[in-house]
Symmetry: C2
Subunit: 332 residues, 2 copies
DNA sequence: CGAGCCGCTGACAGCGTTGTCACGGACGTC
DNA sequence: GACGTCCGTGACAACGCTGTCAGCGGCTCG
């Protein structure tokens, strides 16, 4: 392996100073056409590529974007990261990943770690409610909050109409005759879930129903917990005839439990699609929260900011679609 | 935001030279106890952290590991990346991701890009067969090939007993009375799939059966293609009574197609587990290829090498387990 | 015709770190 | 007492790049 060419090599080959090489490879316009061409030839000949590390040390920034999510293993975030990586690659931007495991303190640690690595931008699915630390830890850094974190003005946010989704899912079940509808959620730390639950409650209120506390579970952060919760719900003296599962991880658990208990008569709407949802019998009706467009919007935004575009912070809210497949149309 | 403290600040505070600070924070043992303590106090007082970028520029390496896989969106690789990231985090190592989309040239480009970023190690699920370019592009770099790439000596490899898995899956179906067993695979570029197919063929041969060409599909790289292939298989004059799907992505397609066609009598064994495989009716029998231990083994290995441990290259082959759940035990 | 400006270019410093090398003092050896 | 050795330490350069500033030639303008 021959060592990479540096600006000095190119400068020597082109008969110019290293500064001029720097100007050319950075697309500065204050270089004459002839000089530029001479340098470009040398660059091509020597197969020169800018050293991103030296660049980063000098400038204090870099063409790397830090992506901080709960877990890369979660299909939702996996898709998100995948899309971001694809779009980043197209602009020669690298992606550093960091997982929070839903922990506020770990999130903070990860963000600080990424900042030390001079990332040029951050894509963050935030935990908890207080993200002011971002303001003084990383002033001026392009930051896009994705999926969650509405309460923090000053940053771009990209998410979906959580409350509306919860509302429509619940209305859908009500419209099919259900009166005892369970809600499966998780930590009240997650603004998305809270909003979905608000939609659920609003739909019930519209229908003149009082929410039944025993039908609301907020401890279903993993599939197994949701399965367990489902079993318990089915054992209630007055069990639910329908379930609104507020995230796809929980839905996996619900589906497992319903199949195991042979209770395929229980209606189900899932917030968030998942693999095989349409292959099951009955196929699962979902409020489709596709990570693709979400990630796309977030990535486009953050990449634009990285390129130096000055944009006013914006809250992008993507619409949702209710996909009827069968499980949500069962009658009690 | 106050700017981070540098070695100079620490040196001044501790009354030593910057070099001594460097020695202390790098755990060099040629520093007297008193000096070390003085420096450590200053480090703590000033909240000093090494600047990884400057470090990387100076040393030509870094505490970052590059992970190159087909796609982060694939649950198998998502789990893998997730495990690697967790273990890396515990050692303050960062993870840069890069996807190949199964393209040999894109893989090469991504690897070179990561090398420019001074990654300290590479974890690679290789495409194609020729990886000698790694030898001169990154001599001496810790590289672990994961899941695939057996034909390349000189690197660590971590994988599973692909042929044995294919053998056992097919034997299992044969033992349950099947004689027409379809094989769903994909590109012959993927050594894993090829080996699984060899296992399939060997099992057939053991049973004295000639392989039926029309039952072997090697075009099922995505779920939709596998679904399509399944439908075509079922329409054959002599359709298969069992299917061996050689990867979980294909299995999703098979399951969808079987459910859609209401042909739940067709036996199925999947190489690789997937969500809901145990919730379906019948639940899907799998050769369990858990990405967890695979990733763990690979990560442990690569991290050890990054810490400078000199280890002879090793081929780690993890055992597989056949998980009977129902679909593989159906009789024709 | 000199002052001022503009377009292009280069010398140099410095980002924060680690590798090289040299030095002073303590100690052991003959 | 002269010498070599070892330990702890520091001065300095360098990694490859970009920001600052200055310089140079040619132009316009009063």
């Amino acid at each position: 392996m021959t060592p990479r060419a540096t600006v000095y090599d190119v400068a020597r080959a082109a008969g110019v100073s290293i500064k001029t090489v720097s100007r050319v490879v950075n697309g500065s316009d204050e270089v004459s056409k002839e000089t530029r061409e001479r340098v470009m030839t040398a660059v091509a000949d020597l197969d020169y590529v800018r050293n991103p590390i030296a660049r980063s040390l000098r400038t204090g920034s870099s063409d790397t974007i830090g992506v901080v999510v709960d877990s890369i293993a979660d299909p939702f975030f996996a898709s998100l990261v995948s899309v971001v990586e694809q779009l980043a690659l197209a602009q020669d931007v690298s992606v550093l990943i960091a997982s929070t495991g839903r922990s506020v303190s770990r999130e903070k640690g990860q963000v600080l770690r990424l900042l030390q690595q001079n990332v040029g931008a951050l894509l963050l699915a935030p935990n908890g409610h207080d993200h002011r630390y971002l303001l003084d830890a990383a002033p001026g850094m392009p930051i896009v909050l994705v999926d969650r974190g509405w309460e923090l003005p000053g940053f771009d946010t990209v998410g979906v109409e959580d409350e509306d989704g919860g509302l429509r899912a619940t209305r859908h079940l009500l419209a099919h005759g259900h009166r005892r509808i369970a809600f499966l959620g998780e930590s009240p730390e997650l603004t998305t879930i809270v909003h979905r639950q608000q939609g659920y409650l609003r739909a019930l209120a519209e229908a003149g129903l009082a929410p039944a506390p025993e039908l609301v579970r907020t401890d279903c952060s993993v599939a197994a917990a949701a399965a367990e919760a489902t079993e318990q719900l089915l054992r209630l003296p007055q069990p639910p005839t329908a379930i609104f599962s507020s995230n796809p991880r929980a839905s996996l658990g619900v589906v497992s439990a319903l199949h195991r208990a042979d209770r395929l008569d229980v209606a189900l709407v899932s917030f968030g699609d998942f693999d095989l949802a349409d292959a099951l019998r009955p196929a699962v009706t979902v409020v489709d929260q596709d990570p693709g467009p979400l990630a796309q919007a977030a990535a486009v935004r953050v990449l634009a900011r990285m390129r130096g575009q000055r944009l006013p912070p914006e809250d992008i809210v993507l619409p949702l679609q209710l996909v009827e497949r069968g499980s949500g149309e069962l009658r009690p």
